[in-house]
């Protein structure tokens, strides 16, 4: 992604957020509340104080990882929406291991999180395997697996793994306080947030700076081309899904080890589904999941303040998310074309001049860019990683 297109998508993102906020303001106004007051309350509840930030970051921590669970398979061209299932099973595995296996705290913590991630990875990896081997649609498959995972979770938590002392709310045996993940120094936020950020960073570097990442993106761009180029497509698809599932499983493990202290129904609150939102708003870029998760965490954190101060239902934040999400996705359509047309206007002239007569005879594809310059100078920014602008390909020929 070059600088200009990064600026482009940032502009589009900000524009869409503004439009989404305006629409939401209109909605709020229509039901008789002051939009300005609601905006101010959301800002105050999400970002204005250290207490608000703590609340926001606590909510953002799992969202970074569930965002990755969608974004990494998306880089391989797979739309996996079943992170919820990987998250609950990962959390359950972590809880079971941490409660039953004795050992030094740090080792058990690491082991429990690793097992959680492995279970999550295996669960979503299965989606990738079915996709690659049997052509099963990964979106539906992962969703079905997610429902199955939740049923398995309930079965185990209310069955063999149940703590007999948990009467009203079935839970696993509580984890020893010594094993709980503590807060980072200086802030009231647990280490899970740092783990999420590191994972996003690693995913971004692997995807954009290594041959594995490149192969994955080629597979995502065009599977047939990837197969012809001899890439191990099956392995790549499974690996991408498994990596995503591992992120979701880790999110579940961290929630258990840092927040709940046991696996119970509190784990099934839709972090996996909000992760889809995170990944799409981050344009499937792992590192961008971090600020997006913080933004969504902030909006969600403001819910209780909205309820207390303005007497609005807590679903208000859900409405705001809906407006924002639709606007940001719709912004993919129109402004992109207008912005890139204006920016690349000089390049059109250059491309039109470059192919001189001999080149036009020698290479039959050359007249095409001159004939349809608009199509070519405005490549959709999402695909540029795999499809370099044709103008640069043609110049050496002429």
């Amino acid at each position: 992604m070059n600088l200009a297109s990064a600026r482009d998508s940032t502009l589009r993102f900000i524009g869409a957020v503004v439009v989404g906020l305006l629409l939401f303001g209109f909605f709020v106004w229509a039901i008789g509340k002051s939009p300005l007051e609601v905006y101010a309350t959301i800002f105050e509840g999400g970002f204005a104080s250290s207490f608000a930030w703590q609340n926001t970051l606590l909510r953002a921590a799992p969202l970074v990882l569930t965002g990755l669970a969608v974004a990494i398979p998306a880089q391989a061209g797979l739309m996996v929406i079943g992170a919820e299932g990987a998250l609950v099973l990962g959390g359950l595995a972590t809880a079971a291991l941490a409660a039953h296996v004795p050992g030094p705290a740090l080792l058990i913590q690491a082991l429990a999180l690793a097992v959680g991630a492995a279970i999550g990875g295996a669960w979503l990896g299965l989606t990738g395997l079915l996709r690659a081997k049997r052509g099963l649609n990964e979106t539906i498959c992962s969703l079905l697996l997610s429902y199955i995972a939740i049923a398995v979770f309930n079965h185990l938590v209310e069955g063999v793994l149940r703590d007999p002392a948990s009467l009203n709310k079935p839970s696993t045996i509580p984890i020893n306080d010594k094993l709980m993940i503590g807060n980072m120094p200086g802030v009231d936020v647990h280490w899970g947030l740092a783990i999420g950020v590191v994972c996003a960073l690693v995913a971004q570097v692997v995807l954009s700076r290594t041959t594995w990442g490149f192969a994955l993106r080629v597979t995502g761009g065009n599977q047939r081309v990837a197969r012809m180029a001899g890439l191990p497509v099956t392995v790549l698809l499974v690996a991408a899904c498994a990596a995503g599932g591992a992120a979701a499983g880790l999110a579940g493990g961290i929630e258990v080890l840092a927040v709940h202290g046991a696996a119970n129904a509190s784990l099934i609150v839709g972090y996996g589904y909000v992760g889809i939102l995170v990944a799409f708003l981050a344009r499937q870029q792992p590192l961008a999941c971090v600020p997006v998760a913080v933004m969504l965490g902030g909006i969600a954190a403001a819910g209780s303040l909205l309820q207390r101060r303005l007497d609005l239902p807590d679903a208000t934040t859900l409405v705001l998310q809906g407006f924002l999400f639709i606007c940001i996705l719709a912004a993919d359509a129109l402004p992109a074309r207008m912005l890139s047309l204006r920016r690349k206007a000089p390049a059109v002239e250059g491309a039109a001049k470059a192919p001189v007569a001999p080149a036009a005879i020698a290479v039959p594809v050359v007249p095409e860019p001159a004939a349809a310059p608009i199509e070519i100078v405005a490549p959709p920014s999402r695909h540029e990683a795999t499809a370099p602008p044709p103008t640069t390909l043609i110049q050496p020929a002429s």
Binding site: Y147, G159, L277, G322, A330, A333, L334
Partner: protein, 305 residues
């Protein structure tokens, strides 16, 4: 046959009849949408919003049928919005669907807070079990008139897809937008219309949830029928009659757990909740292969490519 078996079978059958109606409507809606070449994952939001609107209108007007109609109209609005946004270039229909789901749930919970308490008039019951002596059988045969209406709609759609002009236009648009364009059809308009129609059916399905079974409005009303619709349509191979059968199968499979619980089987009933999902997955596995797309799938559908 022993008494317990009759009870279980009747409960599963009755559950199939009772639970299948929202499945039927929402999957018919999804079927029409997908036949036009688009996926609407947001039907869950439409369903829940329809349930809320149906309940609210039934409460205020005193007639549940006004509620059903209002739920359908609300569904049309959601469908039309989805159809319009997806007409824009480079917009992903799956992602927009998830956005619409969040918006629909948000709006439903937002406006629905006021309707959790009051009791609205419910849809009437059709008692078909008068002849039976066994109480469980008689209970199982109490159905809602929306079920036969839905079945009739399924047959109607099936015939229209085959023989009616608009059915052919819909299938052309869904199978090849280029061919449709060459024939002079407005592809985006047809798809938006199909999505809006699908939204109507999903909204009606939601009204069934709040006005008949379970028959009250709360935030945990839907157990994901809207999302499951996509799987159902695949199970049905994009065939409306198949949607009816699929809805019955899903409704019945979901009732196995509670039915066993009722006769005293205590362990493992949680796993039965997963039965419909496992069934779908197995059928998808069984009928798919990596060499070809699923038979009957519309050519333009992003899901199956």
């Amino acid at each position: 046959m022993s008494e317990a078996w009759v009870t279980v079978l009747a409960a599963v059958f009755g559950g199939a009849l009772r639970v299948s109606t929202p499945f039927l409507f929402v999957s018919l809606g999804e079927c029409i949408t997908e036949k036009s070449g688009r996926v609407n994952l947001g039907l869950e939001g439409t369903l829940v919003f329809g349930a809320m609107v149906g309940y609210a209108v039934s409460y205020h007007s005193g007639s549940p049928w006004w509620g059903v109609l209002a739920a359908g109209v609300a569904g049309v609005c959601f469908g039309a919005l989805h159809g319009w946004i997806c007409s824009l270039p480079r917009v992903n229909d799956i992602a927009i669907g998830i956005a619409m789901m969040i918006l629909g749930l948000g709006l439903a919970f937002f406006f629905g807070k006021a309707y959790v308490q009051p009791t609205a008039p419910r849809l009437p019951t059709l008692d078909l079990g008068g002849f039976a002596t066994h109480p469980a059988v008689r209970a199982a045969l109490q159905i809602n008139v929306l079920l036969p209406i839905g079945a009739a709609i399924a047959v109607l759609i099936h015939i229209a897809m085959r023989y009616a002009r608009w059915g052919l236009v819909l299938r052309t648009v869904g199978d090849s937008s280029d061919a449709a364009r060459a024939l002079g059809f407005n592809v985006n308009a047809v798809r938006a219309l199909a999505t809006a129609t699908g939204g109507f059916l999903a909204g009606v399905g939601g009204a069934y949830l709040s006005l008949y079974y379970p028959g009250s409005w709360n935030e945990a009303l839907s157990s994901g029928q809207g999302v499951m619709a996509v799987a159902l349509v695949i199970f049905a191979r994009w065939n409306p009659i198949g949607c009816f059968i699929a809805a019955l199968v899903f409704g019945g499979a979901g009732s196995i757990g509670p039915a066993l619980q009722a006769v005293g089987v205590q362990s493992g009933y949680q796993l039965f909740n997963a039965a419909p999902y496992v069934l779908t997955l197995v059928i998808m596995l069984w009928t798919s292969s990596s060499e070809r797309t699923l038979a009957g799938a519309p050519g333009e559908l992003s899901l199956t490519r």
